[in-house]
């Protein structure tokens, strides 16, 4: 499950909801939390362990037009950054604009600046600056726009807001459900109230005349009203817990009223400190403008403290007159109730006890359970209605794949087309010309050819070094997936990771990229239900157990197949790679021995398929090899750097061997479709015409008819 929230830094109502639920769900589901800011201490403090993965999203935009960027662009960026999951559970606005399904959105509230807070701007500031402050919770600061464009911005945001299509919306109160229905015009039937952990609170009556209010310091929380009320209540103090952009203004107001030694601002408190404050309070005051829910009300009840609150908002559904004094949001009305509690401490205790009794029905256990049921049922419904069977999930015949290189730039001399004599030289030209791997027309042409050849999958090679994943290949891979997704072809895509001198962080980042950006694509190649990842194995790390353990952890969730440069055997592999791979294949079968020994070596490799833990039988075929034009000195030591194609005879010899194996292979890999530097390509080209693609097509036809499971 992906749990998505814009920021998870402070401990506001929305964050608390997420944390309380995830702490209960973490043992039931694999959960990844996505957020642009994550306070790890906060999660640890609430028992969210390492089992829950954390993934960072791009942060909010600031500066010019930031409000629009945060409305329209940011959710789309997040959409790209979020990996593939069975279900997406999103919190707050505008996560509903992330187009991932199935999605259960718990908005907490609509974007209120578009609606009931639209005209709550402090006009003295507007008059002075000719600017307006716009706020999206939980972004810490305001986005500013020119006053004259205020309405235009809001209209644009309003337009975008309606484009979100979450599969299910859950409201935190009936009040919010009605509000959401008014905004989005669709019924919101699910209401799950937040909860509270009653046993966490210090339950003891207070003799001190301390009033407590907790909330983010935004204008609509109306802290100013409470300060004004306090002025009318002698011999009492007000503790304000929370932070926000209004803090300095509120502090000035308190000082101006001579209340600076009766009004105190606190924030960044530990859980324990907040609970101590609750225990010291005579009462809790909470008068925000139409609060969608207001967890503070539940917390006051749990702490056994009477609530003085505005008579509007979602929390009014869970309190009653025995535990709360609801009143119009006016200083004198609030002050009257504060004085009442100050002068009637026994009544304050009775009300507190009543609240504590009543709140037993609103636990986080209940909230988490109800919400999870909705999430699970949404997932089941979606799966029934939308999941298309994977054609490759239960292969009935051998599957054919080809190594595919997506590192080419546009035109000779560009990326990998003779760009360096060291490693980029080519001696042949594709029939399509020196194409760009990212070009749509190239991709479409290649996949039409693959369809024609009957290829089941292409293996995209992604190289990782100390600079991370090759940016060019990553960008091209994203284009290829996008185009192939659209083509809805039968030829899927798998990734082959080719790490060269990379660190653990590089590999971790590479895998995060693959998981986030690529595996979730419909075209990604799965085998028996698992996404397949090929891993280029040179043998340099043989026996390096710490590294292999790390790779093992990094590759969890994938069916892992080694593309090996060396031979392997069931007997020795445990010592070398400790069961890292589920299957083994040869990357370059022609380079392993002199031609006289080819069949013996190939058969030996094939029969050693049980070197992998799943005993996958994988054949590799290759049309020839020639890298003599490359000036890399490391290549000079290779005794087999020129394996003549012999006008297709070498390839024919491999194909003949392949069809002679005694049983049905699970996969046949063609090495390669388009590796021009080593001249292993079968792609139609100037030197070879369509010979190799046609031979491949026939081979696949023959293989598929011969090898049925």
């Amino acid at each position: 499950m992906a749990v998505i929230i814009p920021e998870l830094a402070k401990y506001g109502g929305a964050e608390r909801y997420l944390i309380e639920c995830v702490s209960r769900w973490q043992k039931l589901h694999d959960i990844t939390i996505y957020s642009s800011v994550v306070n790890a201490d906060l999660l640890a403090e609430h028992g969210i362990g390492k089992r829950v993965k954390i993934s960072l999203l791009s942060p909010y935009f600031d500066g010019r037009h930031s409000i629009l960027l945060n409305t329209a662009l940011l959710p789309k960026i997040w959409e790209q950054e979020i990996g593939k999951h069975d279900i997406y559970h999103t919190h707050l606005w505008p996560t509903h604009l992330i187009e991932l399904h199935p999605m259960v959105w718990y908005p907490h509230e609509p974007l209120r600046i578009l609606h009931d807070l639209r005209y709550e701007q402090p006009l003295e500031d507007v008059a002075a600056t000719r600017q307006r402050d716009l706020h999206i919770y939980p972004k810490y600061n305001y986005d500013r726009v020119a006053d004259v464009t205020y309405e235009a911005y809001l209209s644009s945001m309003d337009l975008v807001d309606k484009l979100g299509k979450p599969d299910r919306v859950v409201a935190n109160s009936r009040y919010t459900a009605g509000y959401l229905e008014g905004v989005y015009g669709t019924p919101v039937r699910d209401v799950v109230y937040p909860g509270v952990n009653v046993d966490d609170f210090i339950f003891q009556p207070s003799d001190e005349n301390i009033f407590l209010t907790i909330g983010q310091l935004w204008p609509h929380k109306r802290i100013k009203l409470i300060i004004e009320a306090l002025k009318l209540v002698e011999n009492a103090q007000l503790y304000i817990v929370g932070s926000g952009p209004e803090k300095e203004k509120l502090a000035r107001i308190a000082e101006g009223m001579g209340l600076d030694n009766r009004v105190f601002f606190l924030h960044n408190l530990s859980n324990l400190e907040v609970k101590i404050l609750f225990s010291r309070a005579l009462g809790v005051v909470f008068v925000p403008v139409k609060e969608p829910f207001g967890i503070v009300a539940l917390e006051a009840m749990a702490a056994g403290k009477p609530l003085i609150a505005a008579n509007e908002g979602g929390f009014t559904e869970v309190v009653d007159e025995h535990c709360a004094l609801l009143c119009p949001p006016e200083p004198e009305e609030i002050a009257e109730r504060m004085r009442f509690l100050r002068d009637n401490k026994e009544m304050a205790r009775t009300m507190g006890a009543a609240g504590r009794e009543r709140v037993q029905a609103y636990t986080w256990d209940r909230a988490a359970e109800q919400l999870l049921k909705i999430i699970e049922s949404t997932h089941h419904k979606w799966t029934r209605e939308h999941v298309r069977p994977r054609i490759d999930s239960t292969p009935r015949t051998a599957l054919f794949g080809a190594h595919y290189y997506c590192w080419y730039g546009n035109g000779i001399g560009s990326h990998h087309w003779n760009d360096t004599p060291h490693a980029g030289g080519v001696t042949d030209m594709p029939r399509l010309g020196y194409y760009a791997s990212s070009s749509c027309s190239t991709i479409e042409a290649h996949w039409r050819l693959f369809e024609q050849m009957g290829l089941d999958f292409a293996i995209l090679n992604l190289h990782v070094d100390r600079n991370g994943v090759s940016a060019y290949e990553q960008a091209a891979a994203e284009s290829i997936f996008s185009v192939v997704d659209r083509l809805q072809t039968g030829t899927r895509l798998a990734i082959q990771l080719c790490p060269y001198d990379c660190t653990r962080d590089d590999l971790t980042n590479a895998m995060e990229t693959i998981r986030r950006q690529l595996v979730s694509r419909p075209s990604y190649f799965h085998y028996e239900g698992e996404p397949v990842l090929f891993y280029f194995w040179t043998g340099v790390q043989d026996g390096n157990k710490p590294w292999i353990n790390f790779v093992d952890d990094s590759l969890q969730g994938f069916l892992r197949i080694s593309s090996s440069l060396r031979m392997y055997s069931a007997k020795d592999e445990r010592r070398h790679t400790f069961g890292l791979f589920h299957g083994w294949s040869l990357y370059s079968p022609l380079e392993l021995s002199a031609p006289a020994n080819w069949e013996r070596v190939w058969m030996q490799a094939y029969l050693n398929s049980d070197a992998g833990t799943r005993n996958l039988k994988i054949l590799s075929v290759s049309p020839g090899y020639d890298d003599r034009h490359l000036r890399d000195p490391n290549r000079k030591t290779n005794p087999h750097r020129n394996v003549d194609r012999q006008q297709g005879d070498a390839y024919r010899r491999m194909i003949d061997f392949a069809v002679s194996v005694p049983d049905v292979p699970d996969m046949v890999l063609i090495s390669t479709f388009n590796e021009y530097h080593e001249n292993t390509h079968i792609e139609p080209s100037r030197n070879h015409g369509s010979l190799y693609s046609q031979m491949t097509q026939k081979f696949i036809e023959e293989g598929k008819s011969r090898w049925t499971k």
Partner: protein, 572 residues
């Protein structure tokens, strides 16, 4: 509400004050008394009114101990006579024989039966509820209370102990020393130190006067309100400021022409206190902000080298060094965060400063070894258990009394015949409530084994020290920690959390712990108490350290700083 700390200046405004011509009013023989009030010029620059507020001195809270208030507009620039009249109907106050503009008398409490009434002279601004000035004069209703007050003043002015040191130079006759503290109360370490400096000076013939903004009005005359300093300090005089919390008069003190010394007792980081007493925490934060005045003093002293470092760091900051911002998602605005950060970063940041640090003389906040032999042990009810873990100090959040409970919880598993004694005053009601909650819940099983002692006499304290088996402290912030020295004097093994100042006071004696692994500490205590060899080794180190501290606490460091301030480079 804490009336003692209610005074706060308006931003950028000189603090107004009122001089009172009487030190007390005696209504034991007559039914009326009169005070003449004179006003500082700053009073007339502000829109203020005068309030005379009467409370029971023993219960100065509203409404239970509130007799009433009488309000007078300050419209004419002239002194005013305030008359307090007692009758069967209760107290009345008039201003220049005129009835007040407004007044309120508590219908449920006349105050007539109270032996002492606290008369507050208060200045409030017209537009808000703030208190700009508050001075308290006792009104004596009963003869015995008046006599008791006189006896206490005499006891203070006639100390038993002889001066532990003499100056090696002749004191200039024209110079007197004005000792300023924000608060002076009994059992208060800062106040005690101010009194002991006062005694040291007077025993050596140096004229000295104590001042405080908040003090026990019983001691009025011996202690004067700080505002009187501005009427009496002369250019040749020395002003010795004991700085431990926000001092509202500091901006005015630094403007005086006299030479000035600041003795820093350190300030509790407000983050420890904010949820228990935000008002006090705010005063700590404001106090830390006042360290900007450091460079206006002629000499700086501190109660330990760790406190000295705080001063040096503050001076560096005042010179414009940039402090790295705290990591985090949001900027902080509140005074608590800023102040806490300032203190927390002191050590590491100081190390990284290339600039020469300000000179600060460290000297313990005690003068002379306390002569416990001259104090007779007094009885006090003790628990029956054999082993007594003893803590002496304030019951304050940063002292981490809850950690003492947790430690004792583990220790009592090893030794059930034991008790924890917590000796000290509690000014933080919220914290006391929290401790009470812990004792009623998490540590309910220890309730019969944990005992609190507040307001004990020196004789009772002696008994407690004598009976205690070990001294323990979990405090996470100290300036010096006097009780550690007392525990040394009574030869008790000391187990202390490794707060920087405590480490310094212990000077590698006793046993400190850098982590609060309660089970391990409990085992250490058990080992020390059951193995005489370990105990003796601990005590040998402590005895040696105590001698070093006594040598440092002779008062010579104070004489030395006074000499430098008086004679500058010639004294070096």
């Amino acid at each position: 509400m804490d009336q003692m700390m209610a005074v706060k200046p308006a931003a950028d405004m000189p603090l107004p004050y009122v001089l009172v011509d009487q030190q007390r009013l005696d209504l034991t023989a007559s039914d009326s008394g009169e005070l003449k009030l004179s006003f500082a010029p700053s009073v007339w620059d502000s829109e203020l009114y005068l309030v005379i507020d009467l409370y029971a001195a023993a219960n100065p809270v509203h409404p239970g101990g509130h007799v009433g208030w009488w309000k007078w507009p300050l419209e004419i620039k002239a002194d005013i006579a305030v008359k307090v009249v007692k009758s069967a109907a209760g107290f009345e106050v008039t201003f220049d024989d005129t009835v007040p503009q407004e007044s309120w008398k508590n219908p449920d409490f006349s105050g007539l039966d109270e032996p002492v009434i606290a008369l507050h002279v208060v200045l409030r601004p017209v537009i808000s509820e703030a208190v700009r000035f508050d001075d308290i004069i006792h009104v004596y209703n009963r003869k015995s209370a008046l006599e008791e007050s006189e006896a206490r003043r005499n006891a203070l002015d006639n100390p038993h102990a002889a001066a532990p040191s003499v100056p090696w130079y002749v004191w200039p006759r024209q110079s007197m020393v004005h000792l300023v503290s924000t608060n002076v109360f009994e059992f208060d370490a800062v106040g005690n130190f101010a009194l002991s400096v006062h005694r040291l000076l007077r025993a050596n013939g140096v004229a000295s006067q104590l001042y405080a903004g908040n003090f026990d009005p019983t001691l009025r005359e011996t202690i004067r309100h700080t505002c009187e300093l501005f009427e009496s300090a002369a250019e040749d005089d020395l002003i010795f400021v004991n700085f431990s919390i926000f001092e509202p008069w500091l901006p005015r003190v630094v403007e005086l022409q006299s030479k000035k010394i600041l003795y820093f007792h350190n300030i509790t980081p407000p983050r420890f206190l904010q949820v228990y007493d935000a008002e006090y925490a705010a005063h700590c934060a404001d106090g830390i902000a006042q360290l900007k005045y450091l460079d206006q003093f002629d000499a700086l002293m501190a109660n330990s080298t760790s406190s000295a470092r705080v001063l040096q760091q503050s001076a560096t900051k005042a010179r414009g060094k940039k402090v790295a911002p705290e990591p985090g998602y949001a900027p902080s605005h509140g005074p608590f965060e800023e102040a806490s950060r300032m203190l927390a970063k002191v050590v590491t940041e100081f190390e990284s400063q290339a600039e020469t640090p300000l000179e600060v003389t460290a000297s313990p906040p005690v003068i002379g070894a306390k002569d416990w032999s001259a104090i007779a042990a007094e009885p006090i009810q003790l628990p029956p258990q054999e082993t007594l873990l003893l803590y002496v100090g304030r019951i304050a959040p940063h002292k981490r009394i809850e950690d003492l409970f947790a430690l004792f919880d583990r220790y009592s598993m090893l030794n059930p015949d034991s008790a924890l004694l917590v000796v000290g005053g509690a000014r933080f009601d919220g914290y006391l409530g929290f401790l009470r909650y812990l004792l009623g819940n998490e540590f309910a099983h220890l309730q019969q084994h944990i005992h609190f002692y507040d307001g004990v006499s020196d004789g009772q304290l002696k008994t407690l020290y004598e009976r205690g088996s070990v001294f323990v402290t979990m405090s996470e912030h100290e300036g010096f920690c006097v009780p550690v020295v007392e525990a040394m004097a009574f030869d008790k093994p000391i187990f202390a959390y490794a707060d920087e100042a405590v480490l310094e006071t212990l000077g590698r004696s006793g046993r400190v712990f850098y982590a609060k692994d309660f089970a391990a500490i409990a085992a250490e205590i058990d080992a020390a108490l059951s193995n005489p060899w370990i105990k003796e080794l601990l005590l040998t180190g402590q005895r040696q350290r105590m001698l070093e501290i006594h040598a440092q606490a002779s008062g010579r460091a104070i004489w030395s700083v006074l000499e430098k301030v008086l004679y500058g480079a010639r004294a070096v």
